[in-house]
Symmetry: C2
Subunit: 232 residues, 2 copies
Amino acid sequence: MPESDYPEIRGLHLFRNMTDAHFAALMRGAYVQNFPPQIELIAEGDPSDFLHVVLSGSVDLFSAWNGRETSMSTVRPIATFILAATIRDGPYLMSARTLEKSRIALIPSQDVRAIFDEDHDFARAIVTELALHFRSVIKAHKDLKLRTSSERLANYLLRQQTRAGGDAEFDLRFEKRRLASLLGMTPENLSRAFRGLHAHGVRVDGSHITISDRGRLERIARPSPFIDDHTI
Amino acid sequence: MPESDYPEIRGLHLFRNMTDAHFAALMRGAYVQNFPPQIELIAEGDPSDFLHVVLSGSVDLFSAWNGRETSMSTVRPIATFILAATIRDGPYLMSARTLEKSRIALIPSQDVRAIFDEDHDFARAIVTELALHFRSVIKAHKDLKLRTSSERLANYLLRQQTRAGGDAEFDLRFEKRRLASLLGMTPENLSRAFRGLHAHGVRVDGSHITISDRGRLERIARPSPFIDDHTI
DNA sequence: TCTCATGCTTGACGGTTATCAATTTCACGA
DNA sequence: TCGTGAAATTGATAACCGTCAAGCATGAGA
């Protein structure tokens, strides 16, 4: 594992407060690999041998059943994924594939579990991380159960506008087909949902979005901090 | 807090391995209360002052948005709820109401966080519990995104049959209206979905279910361990 | 036993969403 | 610059699901 990757990983919440010795022990068994786009990193059902850390690029977590497939979430640098499977030593519940050329660190799951037993600060960080992820999934679940597809899109756009610094214009960070899958709809209906939002001040040009009047969009989106605020 | 409640709580996975001193410290600030049916224990958005433990009865966790409401899950003895909100010291993401007369222990959240910092076994148990819950929500999310309503019902019935010991006959543990909400559908459509399963060997008499041929039901339900097995 | 409230079921209807097919647009390499 | 293939859009259609209204079943209480 190249020294240059250490600071990035060390800077993560998860690894920030552990002792140097324990961090070094974790890194000893870890290695970094470069992957081309569209490579399947892990498959649903595989044993969880490694905790993954996305250092650059991006990774799609998805799941399939009975010939259907859906995107569950996208992981961007710097972040880990499949922490829960690592902790429980259970099979992956989602598959993962690179969306673009990506650099990914692989930390043996058994090392994570071993250091977890010894380093209280690391254990504490894992709990915090898991609780945050848990709450995010709850929010996604509420989004899906309580809202129609165009309400989900409207609220998604408001969230993206917020994370873009509140600017009236910003770019979608996904292909629309995958955005559709994330939002739980077909690409066709995403297209129609975008058209429906024209009447509420949303302009779409390719992946470039313009929200002319946030207040107007909020009146139909009705965002709730308990669904849409992913910081709490 | 009555001594008689100690063993039940102590027996929970979450509290089983912590030291006596720390457990006693937790129980010092805790108290047990009896609630009648249909009492709202907590409301979405409230600060998470207490970790709740259901000792008897049952509790519905639900969420509302824009005039709509949906059941998220049901908590039965002996189990805790809203652990993640307690850990993060964030607002509740779900409301909770008693379904029947229930006895519930309330443990101050700040005590949980304080003991967590001191007792490594407790911290470890919390991580395990959170990871398990996280994976359950992921499964529920996949269920909702990948399956139609009658597929969800068919798989729900198979899961219930399994937990009833595999018997061909068992009873639903919910009112059908709440089962419908849990499964993400209306009571009307639940009724129609049950009728649709008649053709696949499912008999319904009130809340009594008979599955004449599990294999036949499995052929249309196509259960997957990565959605339906809540033990992994 | 009767009444009444509640939950469940059924049918009719409309809205939402998925599917299929056909274009159009766009990005990228020849 | 042009050609190619994938993505995005559009329209038509059907499946799915929610809503509304009515009727039925059940059980608690007078």
